[in-house]
């Protein structure tokens, strides 16, 4: 006889079955409540509990639940993967990477997990490790993202020529990959090649007319060639989309930064005023002197 078992369980419905039924009815909270009673649960109940917590956005609790399963069975691939996802969502990159690594060790064919692991490596600034992860991706389903990831890793390793080639290759496959163009703009900014900044910004703007990155790139290229008319136009469009550009970044970051002085800013404002004035006069039918 097991003295730890619940005597009441013989009459009450099985909490796991009840939880599954409630979940199927779209009642995840009640399903979770059904599993939150004192009882002796197996790994399946823990997994279900973790999934429900995950669905309900209780990521920390879900992580604890999956962790309980993985502590009992470190090779539980699903629990490890979900634990990794939770930790990733909690910005615990190191711990998430560890969980993903366990999954990869158990099942090396999981490119989705490999991509997540590579993402963690990038955030941990382990660019070589990230590059290796992206290199190991083999599936067709991950090809574009691995290609993009490789380009990012190479860019962060300052192997810029190789990175640019990969971005271009990706853009051949997926011309709508805005982020590739945005990173190419950042790369061009890093070496301050204005012609490339202009080129990639223009391409990005053709894909997305509301891309703040493209507008900023075009604005600064125009500023550099002292075309304040174009610069003012792009600058104010960028400002509408990203008002934060008027605030100094609170946190230091690794991002390439281009700052605009009061003198340039006043030039842009003056140019804009003149443009507005001209436009107003033109619309009123007055002839400029």
């Amino acid at each position: 006889m097991n003295p730890f078992r619940n005597a009441a369980s013989s009459t009450a419905p099985d909490p796991v079955q009840l939880a599954l039924a409630l979940r199927a009815q779209g009642r995840p909270q009640e399903a979770l409540d059904a599993l939150s009673i004192p009882n002796e649960f197996g790994a399946d109940a823990y997994i279900l509990r973790g999934d429900l917590q995950f669905e309900l956005g209780r990521i920390e609790q879900a992580a604890e639940t999956y962790l309980a399963v993985t502590e009992g069975d470190p090779d539980h691939v699903y629990a490890q993967g979900q634990l990794g996802l939770c930790l990733y969502r909690l910005n615990l990159w190191e711990a998430a990477a560890s969980a993903f690594e366990v999954v990869i060790q158990t099942d090396p064919h999981r490119d989705e997990v490999r991509l997540q692991l590579a993402d963690c490596h990038l955030r941990l600034k382990r660019f070589e490790a990230a590059l290796a992860c992206f290199d190991e991706c083999w599936s067709e389903g991950s090809r574009r993202r691995a290609l993009f990831g490789k380009a990012v890793a190479l860019q962060l390793l300052r192997r810029l020529d190789e990175a640019e080639k990969l971005y271009e290759r990706l853009l051949t496959i997926d011309p709508a990959a805005e982020e590739a163009l945005a990173n190419l703009i950042a790369m061009s900014m890093e070496v301050f090649e204005l012609a490339r900044v202009q080129k990639y910004s223009q391409r990005l703007l053709e894909i997305n007319s509301r891309s703040a990155v493209a507008l900023k790139g075009l604005a600064l290229a125009a500023i550099e060639r002292m075309d304040y008319t174009a610069a003012a136009r792009y600058f104010h469009r960028a400002l509408e989309l990203e008002p934060e550009i008027m605030h100094q970044p609170a946190q230091p970051s690794d991002a390439v930064e281009y700052r605009i002085s009061r003198k340039i800013f006043d030039n842009l404002e003056e140019t804009r005023r003149k443009q507005k004035f001209k436009t107003a006069r033109a619309s009123n039918g007055a002839q400029p002197r």
Partner: protein, 364 residues
């Protein structure tokens, strides 16, 4: 002209702040930031071929986290962000051009089929506790690479291709027959030893203890173990959970107890430990521990290492003490008055003999 072209920043190169001379004289009003981002890799897979998502495995047994069998979980309510799920939806805006790609045929090293395919493995007869195996040899490359063959089929190949299913069935039957014969002949002493270390449902003993009305439920395989780490989950209640360790006999043991003193959002736990030596129970050392959520499971861990004992609750140190009077002995639970504690997922890690081993222990 722009006053500062701070097109430098990353990887140890100086940012704008590294130019204090220029920066201190110029007033800036706008900042263009160009970060390198990589959200694309977490976006939906836009390729047409998707990977097969691994289904979660469900355990078939209560009280242990082992004996997993594959079974699907309903995921119809909300799109869960499942690892391994890759869709094949192509963005509508993607006017994809063609690019000639050479298929990458070399896969990463794989584990053997037996470990990857639970369905192919023989089903466990009984829910067996899991012995934790430390992941090692992570870099070991197994010969799991697939090499495509472009040769024409020989006659033998055609035979295999035509009758492969029958061949597989015959192989399975032969293996099953072999296992049956092997099983009837009895396992080797080594195998018996391995079994005894994993299948331990009958490893609990019950005995009355002093003081009167106390009974001990002891996990016999821990007898002789000096050091161990015990872990279980517990639903906090007023009756609490009590456990014994370094139990020499019914009159000599250490004990600890946890109970819920106050329910609600700001729950309070009482942790106590004491010893019984020659039948005499010592004074209880008590400690009040605030609990964030009295409604949820509490992970209880206790480490016994030499004369030092540590109690952790939800991975946070809760209490520690030393006592050198009992050096070795059995782990178990105690109850005063027949109310068994409600504990889940008990695991024990024995650390005293140089090699650490962990067992998920089925409760008695």
């Amino acid at each position: 002209m722009v006053d500062v072209k701070s097109a430098i920043a990353r990887l140890g190169l100086s940012t704008t702040s590294s130019r204090p001379g220029a920066a201190s004289q110029i007033e800036y009003l706008a900042w263009f930031s160009f970060p390198v981002t990589w959200t694309y890799i977490n976006g939906p897979a836009s390729e047409s071929v998707s990977e097969v998502a691994l289904k979660p495995r469900l355990a078939s047994s209560l009280l242990t986290l082992s004996a997993i069998v594959p079974a699907p979980l309903s995921r119809s309510v909300a799109p869960l962000e499942v690892v391994g799920a890759a869709d094949g939806i192509r963005p509508a805006s993607s006017a994809t051009r063609w690019e000639m790609m050479v298929p990458k045929m070399v896969r990463p090293p794989a584990k053997s089929v037996a470990t990857l395919s639970p369905a192919a493995a023989p089903a466990p007869v009984a829910p067996a506790p899991v012995t934790r195996v430390l992941a090692q040899a992570a870099t070991a490359k197994l010969p799991g690479q697939l090499t495509p063959s472009f040769t024409l089929h020989s006659a033998e190949d055609q035979f295999v291709a035509r009758y492969w299913s029958q061949i597989v069935l015959a192989a399975i039957a032969i293996v099953a027959l072999g296992c049956l014969i092997w099983g009837l002949s009895g396992p080797s002493p080594a195998a018996r030893s391995a079994m005894s270390s994993t299948v331990n449902t009958a490893n609990w003993s019950h005995q009355p203890a002093l003081p009167a009305e106390r009974s001990l439920t002891l996990y016999e395989p821990s007898r002789g173990e000096p050091d161990y780490r015990m872990e279980f989950s517990w639903v906090p209640d007023a009756a609490g959970v009590g456990w014994v360790f370094r139990t020499r006999d019914a009159n000599n043991y250490y004990a600890a107890h946890l109970s819920l003193q106050q329910r609600g959002a700001a729950g309070v736990l009482m942790a106590e430990h004491f010893s019984v030596l020659a039948g005499a129970e010592s004074a209880h050392s008590r400690k009040v521990i605030p609990l964030e959520n009295a409604a949820s499971l509490v992970k209880v861990q206790m480490v016994a290492a030499g004369s030092a004992f540590k109690l952790l609750l939800n991975d946070h140190p809760a209490d520690s003490w030393t006592d050198a009077r009992l050096n070795t002995g059995v782990f178990g639970f105690y109850d005063d008055g027949g109310r068994p504690p409600k504990v889940l997922a008990l695991s024990l890690t024995f650390t005293g003999n140089a090699v650490s081993r962990t067992a998920m222990v089925q409760l008695p």
